[in-house]
C-alpha cells in the first residue's frame, strides 16, 4: 500500500574500467528527507546523474511513483514531478532571477513552445512568490551576479517552479561556510515540509545531515555501505571507518 516515491534497484554504471556504481539500491518513502553521504568518489553524483537520465545506466531500474523511469530523458522526468539541483550551481546566468523562475514556470505549464504572447509579465507574480519563499529579494538582478548562496536559493526556486513531488539536491550546501550550510539546508527542509515534498540530498557535512535527515544512506566505492536513521548510521563501525579513513 505504502509504495515508496522512489525505488532504485541494482543501479550500475561503469566508465571504462572504473566501476562507478556497483548495483545501488535505494528506497525513499513519501515525506522522507534522505541524506546520501560518502567520501569523495563514492559515486554520489554519478548516482544522481544516472538516476535522472543524464547518464545511461548499464543495469538496474529506477521506479518513480510506481512507474519505471529508467533511462528516461531529463525533460520527461522533470514533467513527471522530479526536480533536481546541481553540485555546481546551475542557474541561467544572463537572465534575471525573476526570469529564471518564469522560464521554469512556463516550461511547467507546457508553454515553452508558445511563440506569440509576450513573456515578460507571464507568471511574474508566481515567480515572485517563489523567490520570496526561498528568501531571495533581488528579483531583477542578473542571476550570474548573485552571491553563491543566493544562486543556490534561486536554483531551489527554479526546481520548485516545476511543482515536483520529489526533489533531488546534489550537494545543496557545497561551497558554503559552516553556518550558512545549516541555514541553507534548514531552508530546504522548511520548504519541503511546507509543500509536502520528499527529498534526497547528498552532503559532506555531518552537522548538516544530522540536523535535518530522516534517513541516511552511506555510499562507498559505488555501493551502499549502510542505511538507517541518523542515529543508527552514526553508531555503525564501518561507517566510522570510512569517514575516519577519509579524514586521515
Amino acid at each position: 500500500m505504502n509504495e515508496p516515491i522512489l525505488h532504485v534497484e541494482g543501479l550500475a554504471k561503469r566508465f571504462g574500467g572504473l566501476e562507478a556504481l556497483g548495483g545501488v539500491n535505494l528506497s525513499v518513502a513519501r515525506g522522507d528527507f534522505r541524506a546520501i553521504i560518502g567520501p569523495n568518489g563514492a559515486g554520489k553524483s554519478t548516482f544522481f546523474n544516472t538516476m535522472t537520465g543524464l547518464l545511461r545506466p548499464d543495469a538496474g531500474r529506477v521506479i518513480f511513483e510506481g512507474r519505471d523511469v529508467t533511462g528516461e530523458p531529463p525533460h520527461l522526468l522533470a514533467r513527471r514531478g522530479v526536480g533536481r539541483t546541481f553540485q555546481i550551481t546551475s542557474v541561467f546566468a544572463d537572465l534575471s532571477a525573476l526570469e529564471n523562475v518564469q522560464v521554469a514556470l512556463l516550461a511547467h505549464a507546457r508553454r515553452s513552445w508558445s511563440m506569440w504572447p509576450r513573456a515578460r509579465s507571464l507568471y511574474a507574480e508566481r515567480a515572485r512568490e517563489l523567490l520570496t519563499l526561498v528568501g531571495l529579494s533581488n528579483a531583477d538582478r542578473s542571476a550570474g551576479t548573485l552571491s553563491h548562496g543566493d544562486q543556490k536559493r534561486l536554483e531551489l526556486a527554479i526546481a520548485l517552479a516545476g511543482e515536483p513531488r520529489l526533489l533531488l539536491l546534489d550537494e545543496p550546501t557545497a561551497g558554503m561556510a559552516a553556518q550558512e550550510r545549516l541555514e541553507s539546508i534548514r531552508l530546504v527542509h522548511r520548504v519541503a515540509r511546507e509543500l509536502g515534498l520528499s527529498c534526497v540530498f547528498t552532503e559532506h557535512d555531518m552537522a548538516v545531515v544530522f540536523a535535518v535527515a530522516t534517513h541516511v544512506t552511506v555510499m562507498h566505492q559505488g555501493r551502499v555501505l549502510a542505511e538507517g536513521t541518523p542515529a543508527e548510521v552514526r553508531s555503525r563501525r564501518e561507517v566510522q571507518q570510512v569517514y575516519l579513513g577519509e579524514a586521515a
Binding site: P73, L77, A78, F92, A93, A104, L106, A107, A119, L122
Partner: protein, 301 residues
C-alpha cells in the same frame, strides 16, 4: 516611440532621396539585415554558432530562381509564389540539416553545418541542368514595375519589416525566453522539462527559413544566383555582420548588415585592396566596441 516613427519615416522616404544605385544598395541592406538577424536567432538567442548559414541563403536564392525560370508559371504568379517557396524549401533543408546537426554542440555543430553547406555548394556546381553550374542562374526579373528598384525596395520592405516584427515577438515570447535559458545553460534547462533538441531544431528551422527568404529577396534584386552564395566564405558574412552590430541586441545584426554593406560599396569603389581595408576597419570596430555597434550609446553596466 518617436525613434520608431523616425525610423519608419526614413525607411519609407529613402526611395525619394536615394539615387537608383544607392536604392539598389538599400535593397541589399534589407536582404542582408534579414539574413544577419536570422543568423542571430541561432547565435545570439540560441547560442548555436553555425558555419554554414549560407546554405539557406543560397537555397532560398536558387528556389526563387527555379520558380521564376523553370516552373513554367506566368511571371506574375511565379513571382508571387517566390517568398512562400523560398521559406518552405529552405525550411525543409533546415529540418534535415538541423536534425543531424543539433545533436552536437559547439565546434561539432559548426563543422556539421559547414559540411552540409559544402555539400550543397558542390551540388549547385555539378547539377548543371538545374542550377546552371558554375554560371549560376541569371536574368531573373520581377514582373512589371517591380523590376525598378524604386518599387522593388517597397516590396522588400513590405516583406522584411513584418517578418522582423514576427521575429521580435518570437524572441520576446515564452519560446524566446526558453531559448535564452537554453543558451545560458543547456543542461539545467532539461530539468525544468524542456526538450532541448526539439527547441534547437525549431530555432534552426526558423532561422534557416528566414535566411532563405533573404536569399530570394536578394536574388530577385540582383537578378542572379551563383554557386558562390553557398560557398563557405559566404557563411562568414552573417557572422561578421551579427558580431559587428551586436549579438545581444535584437536589431544589432541589422545595423551590422547596413554598416557592412555600405562600407563594402564605399571601399570597393576606391581600392582593389578593399577586403584588406574592410578587415582592418572591422577588426578596429570589434576591438573598440566588443559588444557591437549597437552598444555604442548604451551606458556601461
Amino acid at each position: 516611440m518617436t525613434r520608431w516613427a523616425l525610423l519608419a519615416v526614413a525607411l519609407v522616404g529613402l526611395p525619394f532621396v536615394l539615387s537608383e544605385f544607392w536604392l539598389f544598395i538599400a535593397i541589399e541592406v534589407l536582404a542582408f539585415a534579414l539574413y544577419a538577424m536570422s543568423f542571430n536567432v541561432l547565435l545570439g538567442y540560441g547560442g548555436m554558432l553555425s558555419f554554414g548559414h549560407a546554405a539557406f541563403f543560397g537555397v532560398g536564392g536558387y528556389a526563387a530562381a527555379l520558380v521564376m525560370k523553370k516552373a513554367g508559371l506566368p511571371a506574375g504568379i511565379a513571382f508571387a509564389l517566390v517568398p512562400l517557396v523560398a521559406l518552405a524549401v529552405s525550411a525543409a533543408f533546415a529540418v534535415v540539416i538541423g536534425f543531424f546537426s543539433v545533436h552536437r554542440s559547439g565546434i561539432y555543430f559548426a563543422m556539421l553545418t559547414f559540411a552540409f553547406q559544402m555539400l550543397l555548394y558542390t551540388l549547385a556546381l555539378k547539377a548543371t541542368g538545374l542550377t546552371g553550374g558554375d554560371d549560376g542562374m541569371t536574368g531573373l526579373k520581377p514582373p512589371g514595375p517591380l523590376a525598378r528598384p524604386f518599387y522593388y525596395y517597397y516590396y522588400a520592405l513590405a516583406l522584411v519589416v513584418p517578418v522582423l516584427y514576427v521575429l521580435y515577438r518570437v524572441v520576446s515570447s515564452p519560446f524566446g525566453y526558453t531559448l535564452r535559458a537554453l543558451r545560458a545553460n543547456p543542461r539545467r534547462v532539461q530539468y525544468i522539462g524542456v526538450n532541448v533538441r526539439a527547441h534547437q531544431l525549431a530555432t534552426f528551422v526558423l532561422s534557416g527559413a528566414l535566411a532563405g527568404l533573404a536569399g530570394a529577396i536578394f536574388a530577385l534584386s540582383t537578378g542572379n544566383v551563383f554557386p558562390g552564395w553557398l560557398n563557405w566564405t559566404a557563411s562568414a558574412t552573417p557572422i561578421v555582420m551579427a558580431v559587428l552590430g551586436g549579438v545581444h541586441t535584437f536589431l544589432g545584426p541589422a545595423l551590422g548588415a547596413a554598416v557592412y554593406v555600405v562600407l563594402e560599396v564605399l571601399i570597393s569603389g576606391r581600392t582593389e585592396y578593399w577586403p584588406l581595408a574592410m578587415g582592418v576597419i572591422i577588426v578596429a570596430l570589434v576591438l573598440l566596441l566588443p559588444e557591437g555597434l549597437s552598444s555604442f550609446r548604451r551606458k556601461p553596466a
